[in-house]
């Protein structure tokens, strides 16, 4: 348990060290980056090993920080935090492995990368709303530089749009937090204090307060119709950063909704619930249809992330223990699967054939020349379609079960979303790798392009993420055993309907 805060410190130390190295050789930077990522993952796993699941947050550190407004440096964890800390460790490690080929100012790249990671760990471990907000901002700022400096297609636009949306969302969150703080008479920013203060507010005030917090955090989770930053940002980002953006940064938003917005305003949530369910479904279906007609490989994956995050938001909106447990499981699952998909598209394919246009890829019939990426993409696509045996299936099944209890029509909409996800995933699979049925005979004018072989970091990263999604798919108890007890925390009881199974 006590190892968990060190995930933040190790990532920060790694970032500082990398920054100090400045223009060191890429090999040194990579080695240090991999060591930092592995250390974070190992610390997370150590913390998990000593964890006993019980309702409510278990405090790790709690010292006063800013006395006046009662801000405390209060870190704590429960099963939900733990799942996301594990995800961050996995995604950060895989992201480094798929950024192995960053040569230009590699140390600086990885320094920003780990600054972002430290913010992510911090958000998942904060039990003080102000502290959570600070970490949240730490995770947002480096994204801009990472995308604008190391990105590809339309990177300035993508980076700026992403950061403006993120800041707009944080502004709403900050306003909400200050309101809740004032309602509590300025007693403090601790989540427990804020919950006590805000949930005592009359419903007429809780409704706008909930709106500020949920929509503010929801922007980062790809809440329809504020999702448009996600596809452009994901596409513009370098591969390792796309993996982090879709894999963990979008989870920050969903985590904020669950950890802050829902417990603070139960009455506000009750008023918003029908709208939120509708928006989540709209996101699932709309982003799915848009993904179905994209012509750029990476945009398909970008929109698929929005569609899959819609399931997370639907689970939260349904607010039954099964649905919320499924939402948290889906956060983990999508984090791993989106990482894999972006790795295949951005690193394994794009950096070898230098195109992401689906019509160009179709003509290449890549599965013959790149059998390993083809296999990885097939497995990742199956996982993304919600095939049983992979982590997405128990997550979607839990969400469907829990959603049915709240609103059967939502469950039917989500089932339609599963079909659309299958349609766009299969389409992109078929077009990207399995182009023409017969190989086009190479002629002298068009020799078959010589493609770089797949490197060991790519193999290792893909194996790591595939192992995670299959393990959780076959043994979802490993994570649900942490998540379900956490849902019995008193803070969530006013929100969750029905008994925990």
């Amino acid at each position: 348990m006590s190892a968990l805060p060190w995930t933040i410190y190790v990532s920060l130390a790694g970032a500082t060290l990398l920054l100090a190295l400045g223009r060191a050789s890429p090999w040194v930077a990579r080695g240090l980056a991999l060591a930092t990522a592995l250390a974070g993952a190992a610390l997370g796993a150590t913390g998990a090993a000593g964890f006993t699941a019980q309702p409510g947050l278990q405090t790790l550190v709690n010292i006063p920080w800013v006395a006046g407004p009662g801000i405390r440096y209060h870190l704590a964890a429960d099963g939900i935090s733990l799942v996301l800390v594990m995800l961050t460790g996995l995604a950060a490690t895989a992201g480094v492995l798929f950024s192995w080929n960053v040569r230009e100012r590699a140390a600086e790249f990885f320094a920003l990368y780990f600054l972002l990671i430290s913010g992510v760990y911090g958000v998942f471990l904060s039990a003080d709303a102000f502290l959570l907000f600070v970490f949240y901002e730490i995770a947002i700022v480096p994204k801009y530089f990472l995308i604008a400096n190391w990105g590809s297609t339309n990177r300035e636009y993508g980076a700026m749009k992403l950061v403006l949306y993120s800041f707009a969302g944080s502004a709403l969150v900050l306003a909400g937090l200050l309101w809740a703080h004032a309602a509590g008479g300025g007693q403090g920013f601790g989540l427990a204090e804020l919950t006590r203060a805000a949930s005592a507010l009359p419903a007429a005030q809780q409704v706008p307060l909930f709106g500020l917090l949920f929509v503010g955090f929801g922007v980062l989770a790809g809440l329809f119709p504020f999702h448009t930053w996600a596809p452009t940002g994901h596409v513009a980002a370098p591969t390792g950063v796309s993996m982090l953006l879709a894999g963990v940064v979008m989870k920050l938003g969903a985590y904020g909704c669950l950890r802050v917005a829902l417990p603070l305003c139960p009455a506000g949530f009750a008023a918003w619930q029908p709208l939120l369910g509708g928006l989540a479904l709209a996101g699932i279906l709309y982003a799915g249809f848009v993904a179905l007609v994209q012509e750029d490989f990476k945009f398909v994956i970008g929109y698929s992330s929005v569609s899959h995050m819609g399931f997370v938001l639907l689970g939260l909106a349904a607010a039954t223990p099964q649905a919320v447990a499924g939402a948290v499981l889906q956060m983990f699952s999508h984090g791993v699967i989106a990482g894999l998909l972006f790795a295949v598209v951005g690193r394994m394919v794009y950096e070898r054939v230098h195109t992401r246009r689906l019509d160009h890829l179709q003509a290449l019939g890549l599965h013959r020349q790149l059998p390993f990426p083809a296999l990885v993409f097939v497995l990742a696509a199956l996982a993304s379609m919600g095939m049983p045996g992979f982590s997405g299936f128990p997550a979607e099944l839990s969400i469907l079960i829990g959603t049915w209890r709240t609103a059967p029509l939502w469950a039917l909409g989500a089932a339609a979303g599963v079909v659309i996800a299958a349609a766009f995933t299969l389409r992109v699979l078929q077009v990207s790798f399995f182009g023409p049925a017969e190989p086009v005979a190479p002629t002298d004018a068009h020799p078959p392009p010589a493609l770089d072989p797949i490197t060991w970091p790519e193999r290792a990263g893909a194996a790591l993420l595939l192992a995670a999604t299959v393990y959780v798919g076959l043994k979802p108890d490993a994570l649900l055993g942490w998540i379900l007890p956490a849902l019995q925390s008193p803070a969530l009881q006013p929100i969750l309907r029905g008994t925990t199974p």
């Binding site: 079960i401 049915w404 469950a411 089932a415 299958a422 199974p501």
Partner: protein, 508 residues
């Protein structure tokens, strides 16, 4: 009870073969083929052991394996086998090796298609043996993956579109099946087929889900199964897929995978939702009869052997569906119709086995023709084959006449029992389905005459003799078309107690 996990072995043996092939990228074609054949025969060997240990007098599940799997979702690893499962395991045992053998003559690397066929075989077996929704659905969905790639990568013209259509239609159905089971779990907290069936019989499901909830769940499960079988008008994915798929794949698709849907009707839909199925049965019976008649008529108009056989599959599975719906419609009626119901259900199970073997044999024959005609399979591409390929003509003759239900061959007994039951339960449906029977006879005889009789023409000239692999596959399937025709008791004895128990539930 959990002494020797023979059912796990049944499912895992083909997958072990697939894993072995997957881990040896350098394996040659010859070795791949023999390995594939050996592992596909594992089902036959284990099936023989099952047959030896099976107690036909007991209607319940045997060889049960049950272990807790996912506690948070109350999922159990639960396998079990009754007479129906056993018949379908034996069917798979026959069709899978024949499907492997059908690919032995094809040029090109053999390792991956062999591997995919083994994956498909294991998934189908898992569907026939799983008694808990989670493992059942896992195998149900996993079967799509190898089928998709087999069609996509080794299929004929139009394969890309056909494969996509096949998977999206099937997932389109099974997503709602999944939602239906999510609804069931939300109210009952169990995924176990046995427990859910008990709740269905008691009427507790209706109580717990509410009248609309249970109807929605029923509709979802029905949709998933109807696409798979397929029930008219959810059949449109089938002809393109059967036309494009490579021979071994189409043999498994029609021989085994279409039975998965029918098995789902018997294992899930009927036991869980008896009242809902009873209410919907007249409408569904009309669809099934429409499938019988229109499938046969559509087959009559085809100029391509594969498409003709595809529509004929829709027609033949229509008999199975009609039998089930007629029984469900008659359930709880005033007249005790147990005897007619037992006949219809016994015929249904026989028809599952017989159609599986016969359709696989027919598609194998088409594959043999295509291999010698540069991939063509039009009715007009051949003529007078009886003279140039007498052995093939003999085998094909058995399959054609078994398919149209000549007494003495396998098809007759099943269809006879189904019609015998239909006349007792729902005479109007039986009369309306009769034109389908006649049209079947007509298109099969027409095809038989055009391909095998008359002057030698088209690709029939210079027809190379059957290879040993082709001959072995044909002999295997032919024996299984003659044997149940002469001695149907071999199969009916396995399912008799089960069928009696089913029919016994009908009268309140």
């Amino acid at each position: 009870m959990n002494s020797w996990p023979i059912l796990t072995l049944v499912v895992l043996a083909p997958w072990a073969g697939a894993a072995l092939l997957g881990l040896r990228p350098g394996l040659g074609d010859r070795a791949s083929r023999w390995l594939g054949l050996a592992f596909s025969l594992s089902t036959a060997a284990l099936g023989a052991a099952l047959l030896a240990g099976f107690d036909p007098a007991r209607p319940g599940l045997q060889f049960v394996e049950r272990h807790a799997w996912i506690r948070s979702l109350n999922v159990h690893y639960h396998l079990g086998l009754d007479g129906l499962s056993l018949v379908l395991v034996l069917l798979t045992a026959a069709v899978a090796p024949a499907a492997q053998l059908s690919g032995w003559g094809r040029a090109g690397p053999a390792r991956v298609p062999t591997l995919l066929l083994l994956l498909l075989q294991g998934a189908a077996l898992g569907v026939f043996l799983a008694q808990d929704f989670f493992p059942w659905f896992t195998c149900w969905e996993l079967s799509l993956v190898p089928a998709y790639f087999l069609i996509r990568l080794w299929g004929g013209p139009g394969a890309a579109r056909a494969a996509y259509q096949f998977v999206i239609y099937t997932i389109g159905g099974s997503a709602f099946l999944l939602a239906g089971f999510a609804a069931l779990f939300a109210s009952t907290g169990t995924f176990d087929f046995g427990q859910l069936a008990q709740l269905g019989r008691d009427g507790a499901l209706t109580e717990q889900l509410g009248p609309w909830g249970v109807r929605a769940a029923f509709a979802g499960v029905l949709l998933g199964l109807a696409v798979k079988v397929p029930l008219w008008p959810f059949h449109t994915w089938l002809p393109p897929a059967y036309a494009a798929a490579p021979t071994g794949t189409v043999m498994l698709l029609t021989g085994v995978l279409s039975k998965m849907g029918m098995y789902g009707f018997l294992r899930l839909l009927w036991p869980l939702f008896p009242a809902q199925l009873h209410a919907a049965a007249p409408a569904l019976l009309a669809l099934a009869v429409a499938g019988i008649v229109l499938g046969a008529w559509a087959a009559l108009r085809q100029e391509d052997l594969r498409r003709m056989l595809a529509y004929s599959s829709i027609n033949h599975l229509g008999y199975c569906l009609a039998a089930l719906f007629a029984v469900a419609a008659a359930a709880g009626g005033e007249r005790p119709a147990a005897e007619a119901a037992a006949a219809a259900l016994a015929g249904l199970v026989l028809q599952l086995f017989n159609h599986g073997v016969t359709a696989a044999a027919l598609f194998l024959g088409v594959g043999i023709l295509e291999a010698r005609a540069g991939g063509r399979s039009g009715l007009g591409d051949f003529g007078g084959l009886r003279a140039t390929a007498p052995a093939l003509a003999a085998f094909a003759g058995v399959a054609f006449f078994a398919s149209l239900g000549l007494p003495g061959l396998s098809g007759f007994v099943g269809e006879f029992l189904i019609f015998r039951g239909l006349f007792g339960l729902h005479p109007a449906a039986a009369v309306l389905a009769l034109p389908g029977l006649l049209a079947t006879a007509q298109f099969l005889l027409t095809a038989w005459r055009r391909v095998f009789h008359g002057p030698v023409q088209g690709a029939a000239a210079g027809f190379s003799p059957l290879t040993a692999a082709e001959r072995s596959a044909l002999v295997l399937l032919t024996v299984l078309m003659i044997l149940p025709g002469v001695a149907p008791g071999i199969l009916t004895s396995l399912t008799h107690p089960l069928v009696t128990a089913w029919a016994g539930h009908l009268t309140p």
